[in-house]
Amino acid sequence: MTLSLEINKQFKGFSLDAKLEVPAGLTVLFGPSGSGKTTLLNAVAGLVQPERGHIRLGDQLLFDSDRRVNLPVHKRGLGFVFQDARLFPHLSVEKNLNYGRYFAVNKPQAADVNQIIEMLGISHLMARRPAKLSGGERQRVALGRALLSGPKMLLADEPLAALDGARKAELLPYFERLRDELKLPILYVTHSVSEAARLATTVVSMEAGRVLGQGSAAEVLSDPTLVPGGVRGVGTLLQTRVARHSDDGLSELEAGADTLVVPQVAQPVGTPLRVRIAAQDVIVATERPQGLSALNILSGQVLRLRTGEGPGAIVTLQTSAGELHARITRRSLAALKLREGQSCFAIVKTVSIAREDLGQG
């Protein structure tokens, strides 16, 4: 089921002007705060009414200003996960979960209900009131509540933004499982590059109410014209596989012919893992460095050199693990006399790869 829209919405001092085709999978609406991504999401949900345009989900028209169609929120059949969980405080967890099921057109089967509750690990919370839950538990219940309403698509508005680092890490895998196991189309708003890197099958980059571009997570996140913050936000997504856990608190990942050493991951050996490496954490050397503390040295050839207006430049290396972007200064670029096709080495500090940048898939 694909979502297509072209909408215009005016606010005081801000206008949203977006045209978008959302394919299946998990699509991340990505951009700095104030870029209009939440407004876009609310328009899809029906919580905000655009002035002009149309929104279509599969063969159903949700909104069309020309044909005067504006399906009310409760008839759109979309699940919504808010940044603040918005659980009903007077109802137990169980009643919160069942709330949407009561109204659902496609009521989920009992087996699916149990699978969802099992997957989210909330079966032991059923009798509790929302006030007695932790932030992460609350958000898991909110996610379950949305899923049990049998939605055609799930909308999530920065669902992890209100949580601390540990809770974030606890919740991210659930979204990965939704993407991989339930095959539910998801539209996910975030300004966090690591969330986008871990979760997205497609990234839509937004800025100042416009869609800058869209593509696979690897494409968009490595493109300085699409990433918020320009060159500073650029990073590489590497597809790796867990090769070995060592007992000094590190894990080795198989990345092409090279090995990447990262802080210990929980996934068992053999699990495919996405690793995001920020371009500014990569050092480029023309010779294999000796006597260096960094554990990750990948060899490759210079594929592209890109310079922007600032003092920074992006060097893209072709390594056996795929393309790898490094952000260096233009001065270093001149000093190293880098040119396309040249062999060189990329150095990545193990500890610079944050745990939240390591994701399944």
Partner: protein, 230 residues
């Protein structure tokens, strides 16, 4: 209640009956108006607000006189109601209307406060789960506001029990039909030797007022706790 004479007892019973019906009849309208004032963004909202509060600030005798003009036998609405078998003038039903109108602003204020304490984004969440506006209101906002609605009702009931000015102007002071507790106190004070009866009724009136205020305060505290989900 052997220390109450038949006329005194009649007045207390009638007052309870009038106040009960006045509260019951006002309540749905009070909830509706309170919701409109709390959440609505419509043209004329301020006018509605003023209209609702008018009986609170106008002299009750003026309210009673306006009721007499509108709902008396010769009145525009009174004739219609009489034709369908609901006469109001000089009947206990008229006392109910007068008490209901006088209690209405107090009920609306209490209910409005409790509705405003409920996060409107919860209704938004309910609508994304498939609940229509009316369902979202009645399954989320209304239950969360119940203590406030009860508090408003208690206050309204007490106000209806004590209503005097509008009632006596609109439906007079007929023992057994429209002589409510305050009217009876007034009547006893007009005749020599009636003071002991008046004092008994005054004690009952004070007891009801104190009880109502305590109950309303207790319920108001529960609103805050319930809205925060404790």
């Amino acid at each position: 209640m052997s220390w109450l004479g038949p006329q005194e007892w009649q007045a207390v019973a009638l007052s309870l009956k009038v106040a009960f019906w006045a509260t019951l009849v006002s309540l749905p309208f009070a909830i509706l108006v309170a919701y409109a004032l709390a959440r609505g963004r419509f043209y004329g909202r301020q006018l509605l607000n003023v209209l609702v509060h008018l009986p609170l600030v106008m002299p009750p005798v003026v309210t009673g006189y306006l009721l007499l003009i509108l709902f008396g036998s010769q009145g525009a609405l009174g004739g219609v109601l009489e034709a369908i078998g609901l006469p109001l003038a000089f009947r206990w039903t008229g006392a109910v209307l007068a008490a209901a109108i006088m209690a209405f602003p107090l009920m609306v204020r209490a209910i409005r406060l409790s509705l405003e304490a409920v996060d409107p984004r919860l209704e938004e969440a309910a609508s994304t789960l498939g609940a229509s506006r009316i369902w979202a209101f009645s399954t989320v906002t209304l239950p969360l506001a119940v203590p406030g609605i009860l508090a408003g009702s208690v206050l309204g009931f007490a106000k209806a029990m004590g209503e005097f000015g509008a009632t006596i102007t609109f439906v007079s002071n007929i023992p057994g039909e429209t002589q409510t507790l305050p009217s009876a106190v007034y009547a006893f004070l007009q005749v020599p030797g009636g003071e002991s009866s008046a004092v008994k009724l005054v004690i009952i009136a004070v007891a009801i007022a104190v009880g109502a205020l305590l109950a309303s305060e207790y319920l108001a505290q529960r609103v805050a706790r319930k809205a925060s989900g404790e």
